[in-house]
């Protein structure tokens, strides 16, 4: 690869290589273009950045710590393992980094109604939270299957004043919630802002969400320099749509010596049809406004994803990840439900930190990789969410009745 930089994308069409773009119905096009214009203006406005910075510090509680996971390091006996503690953010995940940024943009645009899709409910909660903060009505679309397995988050969203609309179509998961949110947007373009939760969808969303999440990697950079006096050797993050991963990776894309590893959800295994690994188990296609790796059949029909983690249960992935895979800058691997459950328990017992099932997938790769690495190898894993929301799912999977 002879690229000077991996950080220049997307191009003017919103594409990263062949991925990305703006594949949406005409009704939405003028609005998508308006979002892009507004975002470009905001990006160049110091007042916008000041507002974000204020909320990072006083509302989210940033910076989140970079924590040396000593017991896990000793247990695995290899690389020095750091956790980026995104689960300590207000609302318990990295999602709020993005919702704060987008709601400030929506306000700049004069929008008076917010809609969002959610899988695990983390993005729904993060959206409902900022809507409460800024006193904007909020409708969250959530698949019926997800509602059943994420009751605590559904209740949280309602407490925050959001309306949760169940989506019964398709598999009743994240992709169907996204379809329904897009349908709502088409019908309410004038007053409504669609607050997308991951680094996917039509341009400019993948870029915008990446920019709002890049605070993760920027902080890691400063924090590891302070702690170790040098850059990390390996970064690991889980990938559903991929917003926490791109946020961690993006500031390091041009540091060629930093190994970047994205972990997809292998569900019951990549050889079964029950997984959510779009990069390893899919091929490029067009869905939800962008071209990217998708789980689909030979007729181009989208297949249902499966993962024990609702937040990874999506048949696509953000377009920048697809491109980073194509150009070989990021390594993409997968972890099964079973492996993730083990990592979930190990982390809880060793570190006193109950991770969400999503970063438990990233921890699987840490557990695989760390023992083979030298003791001075600096490995940072993004602990992008806390596991409180998952205890019922985990209890159920372990055969425990609560």
């Amino acid at each position: 690869m002879t690229l000077n930089t991996f950080r220049a994308g997307p191009d003017e069409r919103g594409q990263f290589g062949i991925h990305g773009g703006r594949y949406v119905a005409e009704t939405l096009m003028p609005l998508i273009l308006a979002v892009e214009r507004a975002y470009n203006e905001a990006k160049n406005d110091p007042a916008f950045h000041a507002e974000i910075k204020y909320h990072h510090k006083h509302y989210i509680g940033r910076p989140s710590p970079l924590y040396l996971a000593q017991r896990m390091t000793e247990h695995l006996g290899g690389a020095k393992i750091y956790f980026k503690r995104e689960e300590l953010n207000h609302t318990g995940a990295h999602k709020i980094n993005n919702t704060i940024g987008q709601i400030l943009l929506a306000r700049r645009m004069g929008k008076t109604r917010i809609i969002a899709e959610t899988g695990a409910g983390q993005h729904g909660v993060a959206t409902a939270t900022v809507c409460a903060l800024f006193d904007l009505p909020c409708v969250v679309y959530m698949g019926e299957t997800d509602i059943a397995r994420q009751q605590p988050n559904v209740f949280r969203m309602k407490l925050l004043g959001a309306e949760v609309r169940p989506v019964a179509s398709g598999s009743g998961t994240l992709k169907d919630a996204m379809n329904e949110a897009l349908r709502d947007w088409v019908a309410n373009v004038e007053n409504t802002y669609y607050l997308i939760g991951t680094a996917a969808g039509p341009h400019p969303y993948p870029t915008m969400v990446r920019d709002f999440q890049s605070i993760i990697g920027e902080e890691v950079r400063a924090q590891i320099m302070a702690a170790e006096g040098r850059l990390p050797d390996t970064l690991v993050a889980c990938i559903g749509g991929g917003s926490n991963a791109i946020g961690l990776f993006h500031p390091f894309l041009d540091d060629r010596n930093v190994t970047l590893v994205g972990v997809e959800a292998a569900g019951h295994g990549l050889k079964t049809k029950k997984h959510a690994a779009s990069i390893e188990g899919g091929r490029p296609g067009v869905l939800h406004g962008n071209r990217t790796y998708l789980l689909q059949d030979e007729d181009g029909q989208i297949q249902e994803a499966h993962s024990i983690s609702a937040g990874l249960d999506y048949p696509g992935v953000g377009p920048e990840h697809s491109w980073l895979h194509d150009v070989g800058r990021v390594e993409y691997v997968a972890a099964t439900d079973k492996e993730s459950l083990q990592a979930f328990q190990l982390c809880s017992k060793l570190e006193g930190i109950i991770p969400a099932l999503e970063p438990a997938h990233a921890l699987v790769e840490v557990i695989r990789r760390a023992p083979r690495l030298k003791k001075d190898h600096l490995l940072v894993v993004n602990l992008c969410g806390r596991g409180d929301k998952d205890i019922f799912t985990v209890a159920d999977a372990l055969g425990v009745k609560l």
Binding site: R22, V24, Q296
Partner: protein, 284 residues
């Protein structure tokens, strides 16, 4: 190739000579099964449809309301594929050399089929035009331009949000006709207002010489007549698909009278459209 010599242009020219607006009907290929769907398809022209839109089923029809979503899923469950949709058109063409067929759907199945191969096969099967909901002019190089070169019309959707500034971009690479989406929203969910349609058609006509068909939200012969009075054609989809859905048994299989019920509705719509410009239709 501007499509001026194709079936679509010929049909609109004939409608203009007759001094009436046309009726465009939508059904989804393979809904509820290939055989029943083919039976409806072959009866549409006889029942009075002037142009046919045939839906290419897709698992994630983002711009469609519940009726057409369900139609798409029924078709996929019955085993419909893009290849079989093209075969259906090919069979239809053996019986009907004149009625234009426009395939309508989403880009991904075409992308996976391979755009050049799809265009060649569609053209050979007798497809006259394409409406691809999620391919805006920003991505014209992928399918629109190759389609027009291959002699397949590429029909564009214009919507209430397509303002005068954007209209030229939308109408730049297109032929056949312009499909005006009369409501902001998904298919089959809101009612259309005749005043809005009249204004919109007048606005579009300032920008294009192509015929204007109006759809989304037209359900009754009365509404179809009102639209056909001010536009070149009225499109009816969800209402037909709902009649189809109303003629399924508990297992989702076609009841014996299904095709006939849909075609009877088409006949009633056609009667409304044909009477529209002759004498004033009483307002609803």
């Amino acid at each position: 190739m501007n499509g001026g010599d194709g079936r679509i242009a010929r049909r609109f020219a004939a409608l203009a000579r007759e001094g009436r607006g046309g009726l465009v009907t939508f059904i989804t290929a393979g809904d509820p099964d290939a055989k029943t769907s083919a039976k409806i398809l072959c009866g549409l022209s006889g029942a009075g449809a002037d142009l046919i839109e045939l839906g290419m089923p897709f698992s994630d029809p983002m711009a469609d309301g519940p009726a057409i979503q369900a139609a798409s899923l029924r078709a996929l469950r019955s085993g419909m594929t893009l290849k079989k949709t093209l075969a259906m058109v090919k069979d239809f063409r053996k019986r009907d050399a004149d009625t234009p067929i426009v395939l309508m759907g989403y880009y991904n199945p075409i992308y996976i089929y391979g755009a050049p191969k799809f265009l060649a096969d569609a053209r050979a099967a007798g497809v006259d035009g394409l409406i691809v909901v999620d391919l805006p002019p920003e991505h014209d190089d992928e399918l629109c331009l190759p389609a027009m070169q291959a002699g397949v019309n590429f029909i564009r959707l214009a919507t209430p949000t397509t303002d005068d500034k954007r209209l030229p971009a939308v109408l730049n690479n297109t032929n056949g006709f312009v499909y005006y989406v009369s409501i902001m929203g998904i298919t089959g969910t809101r009612a259309v207002s005749t005043d809005h349609v009249r204004q919109a058609v007048t606005r579009l006509k300032r920008h294009t010489k192509l015929p204007i068909a109006v759809g989304f939200g037209i359900r009754t012969p009365q509404q179809a007549a009102e639209v056909a009075r001010v536009a070149d054609a009225a499109v009816v989809g969800s209402a037909l698909v709902q009649t189809l859905a109303g003629n399924l048994d508990k297992k989702g299989k076609a009841k014996p009278g299904l095709a006939l019920a849909v075609l009877k509705q088409v006949a009633a719509l056609a009667k409304g459209v044909r009477g529209a410009r002759g004498k004033p239709v009483k307002a609803a």
